[in-house]
Amino acid sequence: MSHDPWIWIAVFFTFCIFSFLYKDNPFYRFAEHLLIGVALGYQLPIFWKNVVGPKVILPLQNHEYWLIIPLCLGFLWLARLIPKYAWLSRWPMAFSLGTGAGIAIPLSLQASVFRQMQGTMLTKAMLSPSITPVIHIIGNIVMFVGVITTLIYFYFSVKHVGAVGKVARVGIWYIMLAFGATFGYTVMARVSLLIGRFQFLLHDWLGVID
């Protein structure tokens, strides 16, 4: 059994959280509120060291006084706390949203649209048995059909009847398959975390397993 007090503290909080499996109780609520507090308290020094220091203090020390402009703009956020002047907070929000939208439009066009279309397109080499293994050729065709049918399923400007309805139905099958895979993955990720907690209890704390 461990003699490290930090391990004992971690064990205590692990059991506090697990106690919720029985029912909501003061131990769980204490741990839950402590977690929120510690996480928020953790952010402040980290943010100060990684953002405020290198992005504000250091440049100002190097006489880069132009930084005062975004800083002043940022301080307008605080106007939100004074109802009479709350409208001033629209200026930093407009700056963030406008430039953010301007950055997002070409980037999503490039990353989410063009690259995805490029990855889906079939080339001669992708369908040639002398270059690509048969299993991957089938996969490439399955992929192409899947992307088209999924997109048609999400195209609500036409009624899903007749040929469109049949294609959209194939799209549903693909979507359900993807949801199943995502669900399976998510459960396995949680289960691996659970195994990690049990390993901690049995190895780090009790020392009964190697």
Binding site: F13, T14, H33, P45, K55, A101, M143, L151, M176, R190
Partner: protein, 210 residues
């Protein structure tokens, strides 16, 4: 001025950033880096709003001695103590700050997420009924992915000569649906960004004065 000024800034900011994307020049790259830096700096004071908000909520609970106000004391004091430790004794590896982070915050976060494994499993047990062929497909794929990720499942798949089945499902039909969804998300992001830039979407202006 209170509404049109921010709307104009939003539009101009967006247009400038879109134009910048299509100019392959060093000046354009430096301009982009400068704007990103401005975005970060201008967002720093917004953090104050977040901390004010949570402090205000919990202080009110304590002042009015609402039910469970003791937990609010835990949250507020842990924010202050954690930040104080970080600023006073540093945030380096093996510091008190990092020990608290590792043995309290990380422990509780991992346990909390592992707890979700139980609830997902119980919710799936109650709701996963193979009523339709689509639901059956979701169920089967989820089970195959979960089963294939554990040693016993892997050995069964090897015996059935289907060791790459899961990889194939994830790589092709699953990826096809994810791509279709991703394309929709990308187009949706572009449409929303355009709506914000053009002032069609004005929810962000809020009700803070006229």
């Amino acid at each position: 001025m209170r509404r049109t000024g921010p709307l104009k800034l939003c539009l101009i900011g967006g247009i400038v950033m879109i134009i910048q994307f299509f100019i392959p020049h060093k000046f354009s790259k430096n301009f982009f880096d400068g704007i990103v830096s401005w975005l970060i700096v201008s967002a720093i004071p917004a953090l104050v709003i977040g901390y004010y908000s949570i402090s205000h909520l919990h202080l009110n609970k304590i002042k009015r001695k609402k039910e469970g106000f003791g937990y609010s004391i835990v949250t507020l004091s842990s924010i202050v103590i954690m930040a104080f430790i970080g600023f006073m004794w540093g945030i380096e590896e093996n510091s008190l700050f990092m020990k608290i982070y590792q043995h309290i915050q990380m422990t509780m976060q991992a346990t909390m997420f592992s707890l979700l494994g139980f609830y997902m499993a119980s919710a799936a047990f109650r709701s996963f009924k193979a009523r339709t062929p689509e639901a059956t497909l979701l169920l089967v794929v989820a089970l195959v992915v979960m089963f294939g990720r554990v040693p016993i499942g892997e050995s069964v798949f090897v015996k059935l000569r289907l060791p790459n089945l899961i990889e194939w499902i994830l790589m092709y039909p699953n990826m096809a649906a994810q791509r279709g969804i991703g394309l929709g998300v990308g187009l949706g992001m572009m449409a929303t960004s355009l709506k914000i830039m053009l002032g069609i979407e004005r929810g962000w202006l809020g009700g803070t004065g006229k």
